[in-house]
C-alpha cells in the first residue's frame, strides 16, 4: 500500500492511469456490477449456443434447442386453421346469396377473402381492386360476366380463356382487320364512342351504326348494351377496359382483345374461392 497515489486536490486515490497528464481517480464500481457483467456474457454465449445465431456461408448455426421461427409460424398457422375449421366448413356449405354483412360468417369470409385477394389477385387487379387497363376494376358496377355472387364464384373458379378448364369463360371476338375496310372501322369506332361521349362526329357515327348493326350487334346487342352470356362488354357505358381513346377502341376492333385469368379452382381450396368471391362481391360493385 506504500505506492498508493493520492490525487492532491480531491484526496482520492488514483488508478495510476494517466492520459495526456490527466489522472483517473479511483471511484471503484461495486463488485456485483462486475458479476452482473460476467453473468450477461455467460448468458450471451449460452444463448447463441441454445438458439440459432451465428451466420455461416449458407445458413446459420441452428442452436441446440432446435428452435426455428418457421416452425413457430407453421404451428401458428395450423392452430389458426384448426380454430377456423368450423367457420371454413360453414362457408363451404353456406348459400352465399344469403350471407348478410355483419354476420359472423360474412365477416370471416371477407377477412379471409381479403387475404386471398391480396396474395393472389392484386397482381392484376391492384391491391385496392381498382384494376388497370386490360384488368377489370372490381369496384364499379360494370361486369363482363355478371356481378352476382354465383357468377363471381364461377369466374374465379374456372378462369377466363384458358385451355386447362373446360368450364372457363370464353369470349370470341373476331379480329375485324381482315373483315372490315379501314374506313368502316373508323366509322364503327366513332359510333361506339358517340354512345357515351358527346362531341363525336354525327355523320361518321351514323355510318358506323350501320357497320355496327351488321357486324357487332349479334354479340354486343342492337343498343351496344353488351351480353353477359358471351362476355361481350357494354359499349354504351362510361367504362372502357382497354381505354376510351379512338386509337385504343380501333385497336380492339382490328385485333380483338384476349384477356385471360387463371382457373383458381385448380389452385385454391373451395373455402378460399368462396371467401374471395364474397370479398369481391362486397367491394361495392356486387349485384
Amino acid at each position: 500500500m506504500s505506492d498508493k497515489k493520492i490525487d492532491e486536490t480531491t484526496g482520492i486515490e488514483t488508478t495510476g492511469h494517466s492520459w495526456d497528464g490527466i489522472q483517473e481517480l479511483n471511484n471503484p464500481l461495486p463488485r456485483w456490477w462486475l458479476w452482473t457483467l460476467y453473468a450477461t456474457i455467460f448468458w450471451g454465449i449460452a444463448y447463441t449456443i441454445a438458439y440459432p445465431a451465428w451466420p455461416l456461408i449458407s445458413g446459420a448455426t441452428s442452436g441446440v434447442l432446435g428452435y426455428a421461427t418457421r416452425a413457430e409460424v407453421a404451428e401458428q398457422i395450423t392452430a389458426h386453421q384448426a380454430q377456423n375449421a368450423e367457420l371454413a366448413s360453414a362457408l363451404v356449405a353456406a348459400e352465399l346469396t344469403e350471407l348478410a354483412p355483419g354476420d359472423d360468417l360474412h365477416r370471416y369470409a371477407t377477412a379471409r377473402g381479403g387475404a386471398v385477394f391480396r396474395a393472389q389477385c392484386s397482381q392484376c387487379h391492384g391491391s385496392g381492386a381498382a384494376g388497370a387497363t386490360g384488368y377489370p376494376n372490381l369496384l364499379d358496377n360494370d361486369w363482363l360476366w355478371g356481378g352476382d355472387i354465383d357468377n363471381i364464384v364461377w369466374t374465379i373458379a374456372h378462369g377466363v380463356r384458358n385451355e386447362t378448364d373446360p368450364d372457363a369463360r370464353y369470349s370470341e371476338m373476331p379480329a375485324f382487320a381482315d373483315i372490315l375496310e379501314a374506313d368502316e372501322i373508323d366509322a364503327v369506332v366513332e359510333y361506339v364512342l358517340s354512345l357515351s361521349k358527346p362531341d363525336r362526329d354525327p355523320v361518321l357515327a351514323e355510318a358506323g351504326n350501320t357497320v355496327f348493326l351488321d357486324n357487332c350487334a349479334s354479340c354486343h346487342g342492337d343498343m351496344a348494351e353488351g351480353n353477359r352470356d358471351l362476355g361481350a362488354p357494354n359499349l354504351a357505358d362510361a367504362i372502357w377496359l382497354y381505354g376510351d381513346s379512338p386509337e385504343a377502341v380501333a385497336y380492339t376492333v382490328r385485333n380483338a382483345r384476349y384477356g385471360v385469368m387463371p382457373a383458381w379452382g385448380q389452385r385454391l381450396s373451395d373455402a378460399d374461392i368462396r371467401a374471395v368471391s364474397v370479398y369481391v362481391h362486397s367491394l361495392g360493385g356486387g349485384e
Binding site: T14, L29, A130, A238, S282
Partner: protein
C-alpha cells in the same frame, strides 16, 4: 506498484433507529402510499351490466383502461402520455424547489427499503445488535434470525407482486384463481418476478439501486441550484467539531448520530453528495442531539445554500417562498398546469359517440357505368356506452355540387354493440353532371345520429372527383 482495486464489495449499512418529525412524516407517507397501492384494485365501481366493476382496471385484453368514471380507449392513449409528461414535469418542479423529495419520501425503492429495514430491526434489533450479528458466526441463532427475516421479506415481496397483477384483471376473481392454482401462467410469472425483485432490491441492494441503477441522481443536479431547499449541514455553525464545552468548538460534537442513521451511508457534513436522497433522517438525529446538549435545532437542516452568507453574518435567511418562487419553478408550474388543463378540457369535450372517417385512396375514385363518380370511405364508429345503440348516417355538403350517399348507405342503420367498434364502408356518389364529379376536391361532412337519443356527431372529409386534363 500495486494496482488499486477497480471493484469494491458493498459496505453493508446498518442505519440506526431515529425518531422525529421527518421520520413521523415518512411513516405516514409509507402508510398512505402502500395503502393506495394494495387497496386500489379492490375498490368496486358500477358501470352497468356489460362492463367491469373494478374502479381502476388496465384491461389489456379488450384494450380499455378504466379509472373510476373515466374510460380510456386505445386511440385516446394521449391521456396516458399527457399524464406521464405531467409526472415528469412535476418531478422537475419538486426537485428544483425541494431537492430529491421524491427519492426521500415517495420513491417505491425508498418506501419498500424502509419497510424492509423496519422488519430487519424488529427481528434482529437495532444498529449495534445487527452489527454484532453481522460479525458473528453462523450459529443456530443467526440462522433462525436470518431465515425469519428472509421469510417476512419474501411475504412482503409476494404481497407486492400479488397486488400488481390485480390491476390487470378483476381482483376477486383473480384471487380465487390464484389460490386454486387455476390462474393464467403469466399472472404467476409476474408475481414471481416482482417478488424476486422486491426481495433483492429491498433486502440486499437498497442504496445500491439508488446510486448505481437509478438514472435520477445523475439527472437531478440539472434541476437544482443554490436556491433549492435541500438537506445540508450548517458548517459555519458546526465547525470546528469537538466535545461540548471545548474552547472555540462549534456546535457539532462529532457524535456520528447523523451518519449512523443515514440509509445510504454517507456523512452529510462532507457537503452535498450525489448519494443523498434527502430523506431528512439525519436532521431528526441531529435535532435530537441538539436538544440533549441544549443547542438550537437545525445544525443539519433543510436549507438553501444561497442563504449561507447571510446566516454566517448573523442575518435572517430569505423567507422560504422567495426560494421556491423563482423563474424555473414558475415555468415548470406553468407547463404542468397547461398540460393538465388541456387534458381536463379533452376529457370534458369527449363524446360518447366517436367516429373516424378515412377516405379510401386506393383508388381515389371509381367511375360507374353511367359516368357517376363514387368515393369510398371507411367509417369507424365507437360506442362507448354499456348498451347497444343504432346509428344512421347522413351527409352535408355544398348542395350545388351534389354529392349523395349511395342508396345502401342512405338506408343503413348501423347497430354498434355496447362498448365496441364497428367498421363500415360507406359509398358516396356524385352524378356525372354534378360539378363535384369533375372537381379534384370537395369538402363534405359525414354525420351519425343516435336513433335512440338523437345525439349527433360528425367528421369532415373530402370527395375526389375525376378531373379530365
Amino acid at each position: 506498484m500495486d494496482t488499486p482495486s477497480l471493484y469494491a464489495a458493498r459496505e453493508p449499512i446498518f442505519p440506526r433507529r431515529v425518531s422525529g418529525k421527518f421520520r413521523q412524516l415518512k411513516w405516514w407517507i409509507m402508510a398512505i402510499t402502500l395503502g393506495i397501492y394494495y387497496l386500489t384494485p379492490w375498490i368496486r365501481w358500477d358501470r352497468g351490466p356489460n362492463l367491469p366493476d373494478q374502479a381502476v382496471l388496465v384491461d389489456l385484453a379488450s384494450r380499455r383502461f378504466y379509472f373510476f368514471w373515466i374510460e380510456i380507449w386505445p386511440h385516446e392513449f394521449y391521456f396516458v402520455a399527457g399524464l406521464l409528461i405531467m409526472a415528469g414535469l412535476g418531478l422537475f418542479l419538486f426537485t428544483s424547489a425541494l431537492g430529491r423529495v421524491w427519492c426521500g419520501y415517495t420513491c417505491p425503492q425508498t418506501v419498500w427499503t424502509d419497510l424492509f429495514i423496519l422488519v430487519e430491526r424488529w427481528i434482529e434489533g437495532d444498529r449495534n445488535a445487527r452489527l454484532r450479528l453481522h460479525r458473528a458466526g453462523w450459529d443456530v441463532r443467526k440462522w433462525r434470525l436470518r431465515i425469519t427475516k428472509w421469510v417476512v421479506w419474501l411475504l412482503i415481496g409476494l404481497a407486492t407482486g400479488g397486488a400488481w397483477v390485480f390491476y390487470f384483471t378483476d381482483a376477486p376473481t383473480l384471487l380465487g384463481d390464484l389460490l386454486s392454482f387455476s390462474a393464467h401462467p403469466v399472472a404467476y410469472a409476474t408475481i414471481a418476478v416482482l417478488t424476486a425483485t422486491t426481495f433483492v432490491f429491498g433486502g440486499f441492494m437498497r442504496e445500491q439501486v439508488c446510486i448505481y441503477m437509478c438514472p435520477w441522481p445523475r439527472i437531478q443536479a440539472a434541476m437544482m441550484d443554490s436556491d433549492t431547499i435541500t438537506v445540508a449541514y450548517r458548517e459555519w455553525r458546526g465547525e470546528p467539531r469537538g466535545k461540548k464545552g471545548t474552547d472555540g468548538a462549534g456546535d457539532c460534537i462529532d457524535c456520528m448520530a447523523c451518519v449512523n442513521v443515514c440509509p445510504v451511508g454517507i456523512d452529510i457534513r462532507d457537503g452535498q453528495q450525489m448519494e443523498c436522497i434527502t430523506c431528512a433522517l439525519c436532521i431528526d438525529a441531529c435535532d435530537d442531539i441538539m436538544a440533549k446538549i441544549g443547542k438550537p435545532r437545525g445544525l443539519v437542516d433543510y436549507l438553501a445554500l444561497s442563504d449561507e452568507p447571510a446566516e454566517r453574518a448573523g442575518q435572517a435567511p430569505k423567507p422560504v417562498w422567495r426560494h421556491i418562487l423563482r423563474p424555473r419553478t414558475i415555468l415548470y408550474t406553468a407547463m404542468w398546469s397547461l398540460i393538465g388543463l388541456g387534458l381536463v378540457y379533452a376529457l370534458f369535450i369527449r363524446s360518447d359517440i366517436e367516429l373516424t372517417v378515412s377516405p379510401v385512396r386506393n383508388p381515389t375514385y371509381v367511375v360507374q357505368s353511367d359516368g357517376a363518380i363514387r368515393n369510398i370511405y371507411d367509417v369507424r364508429l365507437r360506442n362507448k356506452l354499456g348498451e347497444d345503440r343504432a346509428f344512421r348516417l347522413s351527409l352535408t355538403s355544398d348542395e350545388v355540387l351534389r354529392i349523395d350517399l349511395d342508396d345502401r348507405a342512405r338506408n343503413l342503420t348501423l347497430t354498434v354493440p355496447a362498448d365496441s367498434t364497428v367498421l363500415q364502408r360507406v359509398y358516396v356518389t356524385a352524378r356525372p353532371q354534378d360539378p363535384a364529379a369533375g372537381i379534384d376536391r370537395t369538402d363534405l361532412r359525414l354525420w351519425v345520429e343516435d336513433l335512440g337519443s338523437g345525439d349527433r356527431a360528425s367528421r369532415a372529409t373530402t370527395f375526389s372527383g375525376k378531373v379530365t386534363p
